[in-house]
């Protein structure tokens, strides 16, 4: 990548929906996709006289996320009301956290593309709040009939705000991927952008070296990004746009009010949004219907201890203890905790991490994706597959036969030996193979000469002859023995 004449500076504000059965302040279900307004009760639709009661599960999940994001968790945190009028906000205020959030000052390390070290993105704060409902209308239409679905109103959200530590659109995407992976591992959120369980806004500007020092362009908030890919594209577009505007106008931070722009997925441009919040004053004040929440240092320790191995730890362990390269470790860890567990067992049983990783990537995951199942529902247990890999490694099966055994087990289940028998693969005694190879080497001096002159390919003809004499021999083993014999000649 050619060096840019500026540095891109990005901070993200991410909202993720917590994986709770019920809403943050009432007992209504949080399931996605129910018919409009069927998951509501007097509390979440803001009937007169109702009161919120905090969902302890949501708080526990938020604590978990906060701990995993290396945050300083507050021992005293309270709720505040954020007041504004909007039809999808039935109470006229959102219960959120203002000056005493759940936690502050954390970080998330994200794998870096061109640096050996991970990049550390710092987190400003993480807090809990309730979601609003959904307006199903076009406000500009004015007279058009507007409809409101309050199923989502009161759903627990975690708001995560980063420092402007992100330095490229690609890094923004990587950060989001890593955050999603982490929250998936913790079972805190499924972070599904299509279902709205992860939403992200970005603040972006450029730092441009000039003879007078570093010039910063005005910060722009980018909204409406509906996928990680869109985040990357929108930020790349916005950076170029700001560069263009700066070259044209020379306008710097502070010289124009902060602008909000929306990403237009189809046109692939950002456009200015008339922000309804531009001059709004939310009149935050402490929520009198809820009591502050206190967390003891012991509880915080308990949460930290309960996190288990997180993606970054697992990547490190797979590389260090199982000899995987960064790419393979990444692929496995990105598949989620249950795939990693499958791998660990498989590698332990077959005794070869690299082989286990290959089998998972090439065979197991292919089936998992085809069948659209989770690896926990994959029909061949790791112990069974491990035995198959051991057979291949020990020379009892060649790889194509190993694959046939795999396919057989997939269809019929059972033990690997049963599959080998059913497929009619006979074990060939290694002494028998040795004898056969000696015979072939002796009978083919021309081939031997070619091999000795460096043309290892010539061995193919010996392997072919061996297979003709005994179809059950393992070609790799034949090759191996022949090479040994020739070397000793």
């Amino acid at each position: 990548m050619a060096a840019l004449p500026y540095t891109i500076v990005v901070g993200l504000e991410v909202h993720v929906q917590l994986l709770t059965e019920s809403k943050l302040f009432c007992g209504c279900s949080t399931k996605f996709g129910a018919p409009p307004n069927t998951q509501t009760c007097p509390v979440c639709i803001g009937m007169p006289g109702v009161l919120p009661v905090m969902n302890a599960k949501a708080f526990a999940l938020a604590l978990k996320a906060a701990a995993a994001l290396n945050c300083h968790i507050a021992t005293f945190t309270k709720w505040d009301r954020k007041n504004y009028y909007y039809p999808d906000l039935p109470k006229g205020y959102q219960i959120s956290q203002y000056d005493l959030p759940l936690c502050r000052d954390g970080w998330l390390d994200v794998p870096s593309e061109d640096e050996a070290e991970d990049r550390r993105i710092r987190i400003i704060r993480v807090h809990l709040e309730e979601d609003a409902g959904k307006s199903l209308h076009d406000e500009k239409a004015g007279r058009a009939d507007s409809r409101i679905d309050l199923n989502r109103a009161g759903t627990p959200l975690l708001e995560i705000v980063t420092y402007p530590d992100i330095r490229s659109p690609a890094e923004a995407k990587t950060f989001l991927q890593e955050l999603k992976l982490l929250l998936n591992y913790l079972e805190v959120s499924d972070c599904n952008m299509q279902e709205g369980s992860l939403r992200v806004d970005a603040n972006i500007n450029l730092h441009i070296p000039t003879p007078q020092g570093i010039a910063a362009t005005p910060i722009v908030e980018v909204k409406n990004m509906n996928s990680f890919r869109a985040v990357e594209k929108a930020l790349a577009y916005e950076a170029e746009r700001q560069w263009g505007v700066f070259q044209e106008t020379g306008r710097k931070l502070g010289e124009v009010p902060k602008q909000t722009r929306g990403w237009d997925e189809h046109a692939e441009v950002t456009r200015p949004q008339r922000s309804k919040e531009e001059s709004s004053d939310y009149r935050y004040f402490p929520e009198p219907d809820l009591v502050p929440v206190t967390v003891t240092p012991e509880e915080i320790e308990r949460v930290q201890a309960s996190l288990g191995e997180l993606p970054a730890d697992l990547r490190r362990r797979l590389r260090r203890d199982y000899g995987l390269n960064a790419y393979d470790a990444d692929v496995l860890v990105n598949q989620g905790r249950s795939t990693v567990h499958y791998f660990l067992r498989l590698a332990d049983v077959c005794g070869d991490g690299k082989a286990a990783a290959n089998w998972i990537q090439q065979d197991v995951l292919r089936v998992v994706h085809e069948r659209q199942i989770s690896i926990t529902d994959f029909p061949i247990p790791p112990d069974t597959l491990g035995e198959v890999i051991r057979m291949v490694r020990g020379g009892r099966l060649d790889t194509p036969k190993g694959r046939q055994v795999f396919a057989h087990l997939l269809q019929h289940g059972g033990r690997p030996q049963e599959a080998v028998d059913a497929l009619g693969f006979k074990d060939v005694d290694d002494a028998e193979v040795q004898a056969l190879c000696r015979e072939l080497v002796d009978a083919n001096p021309k081939v031997v000469a070619e091999v000795r002159s460096g043309k290892e390919k010539a061995l193919g003809s010996l392997v072919g002859q061996a297979k003709k004499r005994n179809p059950h021999v393992n070609p790799a083993r034949v090759k191996e023995i022949c090479l040994e014999l020739i070397a000793r000649m």
Binding site: V53, G92, I148
Partner: protein, 523 residues
């Protein structure tokens, strides 16, 4: 034989238990009494004869069947119309909710019904409980049964007047700054605001959430105890409700006054206090002294800031609590067709005049819907408080108003803590004067707010407090005695009140009948 309406709740309940009368008989008598008296007093916004009778029939049936019945089985009770009753209108005396039917029961309503009480109707109040005279009700004035030209107090004016006029023996009200105690005092009955969190607020339409508390109004401290026992208790649906055992209030009333340290605050007896009220309160203190209590002067240095702090905190919370009434989801909504037509007309005029700037600024249909619905649905006092609160919470003013008020609130709490380290209860006047005339203070909101001078402290500090009758003015208007106690010391309050009531008969006096006065008033 005495009429049922002359009996206290305790007496009625005993008669019912002994089978000397049926719940249906009592309910009928109560409904008849309401029909006769309320045409003048206008304490009720709604009366539910059919429902009341069917509740009473159910109590009688269960009694005949030998089933166990609750402590208030068959006793009629009135409920302030800011408490939600499922399927019935809960109007808060506001146009905004004039036709609003609650989809659920408030916790206290649930508890009343489980206790066997017969809910006969819902009582009038100041709109959304904002006021001290029940004059801000969007629907009707309630009259003081002692003088129908005077206000019953507020905001639980209907709740107090219906007990004073002996229409029901028990009534449930809410108290944010004195809304139970002040009308109780002005109507010559007993009323108790419990400790914050003692009674669940779930289903009480919020005015100021950190101050609101539900409590009983009745003819005597004994009846207040009976009703409080039913209302109080932890509720998992209210996060601010206290998870503490509920004493058997009604069985804990007897107790010696000897040695009770009663605090009095000199500032309560200085300028601003009506002479007759001061004299009646001092007389009550003398009675306590005769009974063996010790009077101790206590300081309340921040009390004079209480009203100011209260009128920042309460409207701030109200401005947020009342945001939900926006015409979108339920309640009053402006005539949309007319609204859109007006908006279109305004736009047309602006286009014609070429005023592009104004055209840019004009309300969207949605904003106009909010504005019109709220303008039409709320009355003047509610609007005034929403504006006060919105202002106090606004950026740039928050620290100077809201935050400062919270500091004062803390100081007032500390005053109480210090005082209660020296005394067991604090006694004083409930109001600066007896009931004023209808309309007398409507054009002077500040005078109206200052009427809360003695009562708001207990709300700011979250403490239990009570009003009980302690005399009458020369004009025959009731005067109340204010008793305040430390948190969760309702038993102490009730004992002190009960002791006075065993030694005086102020609480037994009742106003004359209003059946005759009706035609006269109509004319």
């Amino acid at each position: 034989m005495e009429s049922f309406w002359e009996l206290t709740a305790r007496e009625l309940s005993d008669k019912l238990r002994r089978g000397e009368c049926s719940a249906v008989e009592v309910a009928r008598a109560c409904l008849d009494r309401i029909a006769a008296e309320d045409a003048t007093v206008r304490a009720f916004l709604s009366v539910e004869p059919d429902w009341a009778l069917s509740q009473a029939e159910e109590v009688d049936r269960r009694r005949r069947a030998g089933e166990s019945l609750g402590p208030l089985a068959g006793v009629p009770v009135a409920v302030k119309d800011n408490l939600c009753v499922q399927g019935r209108v809960t109007s808060c005396a506001s146009r905004m909710l004039a036709h609003f039917r609650s989809p659920y029961d408030a916790t206290v309503v649930d508890r009343l019904l489980k206790a066997g009480a017969i809910i006969v109707g819902k009582t009038n109040l100041d709109e959304f409980a904002m006021g001290g005279s029940t004059e801000t009700s969007a629907f009707q004035f309630t009259r003081n049964p002692w003088d129908v030209e005077r206000i019953p107090g507020g905001s639980s004016g209907g709740a107090a007047a219906c007990v004073a006029a002996r229409m029901v023996p028990l009534s449930v009200g809410s108290d944010t700054g004195g809304s139970i105690r002040q009308p109780a005092a002005l109507c010559g009955i007993s009323g108790l605001k419990p400790t914050y969190g003692r009674v669940s607020r779930f289903g009480l339409v919020a005015f100021a959430s950190s101050l609101d508390q539900i409590g009983p109004l009745a003819q005597s401290a004994e009846d207040c105890a009976l009703l409080l026992e039913v209302l109080a208790g932890h509720d998992p649906r209210d996060a601010t409700s206290l998870d503490r055992p509920v004493p058997r209030y009604a069985s804990e009333l007897e107790g010696a006054i000897k040695g009770l340290r009663i605090g009095w605050v000199p500032e309560h007896f200085t300028e601003g206090l009506d002479g007759e009220v001061g004299e009646a309160v001092r007389e009550a203190l003398r009675i306590y002294e005769d009974l063996g209590a010790e009077l101790v002067e206590v300081a309340s240095p921040h009390a004079r800031y209480a009203v100011a702090a209260y009128y920042i905190i309460a409207p701030s919370e109200a401005s947020s609590n009342l945001a939900r009434y926006d015409g979108v989801h339920y309640g009053y909504r402006t005539d949309e067709k007319a609204m859109l037509a007006d908006l279109e007309e305004e736009r047309r005029l602006l286009r014609e005049s070429g005023d592009e700037a104004a055209l840019e600024e004009i309300d969207s249909a949605l904003v106009r819907l909010y504005r019109r619905s709220r303008a039409g649905g709320f009355g003047a006092e509610v609007k005034r408080r929403i504006m006060l609160g919105t202002y106090a919470l606004s950026a740039g003013y928050y620290d100077a108003y809201y935050l400062k008020a919270l500091k004062v609130r803390r100081l007032i709490r500390q005053d109480y803590d210090r005082a209660f380290s020296q005394v067991d209860v604090i006694a004083g006047p409930v109001t600066p004067s007896p009931a004023f005339r209808l309309g007398e203070k409507t054009s002077d909101p500040l005078a109206m707010y200052l009427f809360d001078l003695y009562t708001v402290g207990a709300n700011l500090a979250g403490l239990p407090a009570m009003a009980i009758p302690c005399g009458f003015s020369r004009e025959g208007l009731p005067i109340g005695l204010h008793l305040q106690a430390p948190a969760l010391e309702e038993v102490r309050l009730l004992r002190a009140a009960h002791a006075l009531q065993r030694n005086t008969d102020w609480h037994r006096r009742r106003p004359g009948s209003h059946i005759a006065a009706r035609s006269e008033l109509r004319g």
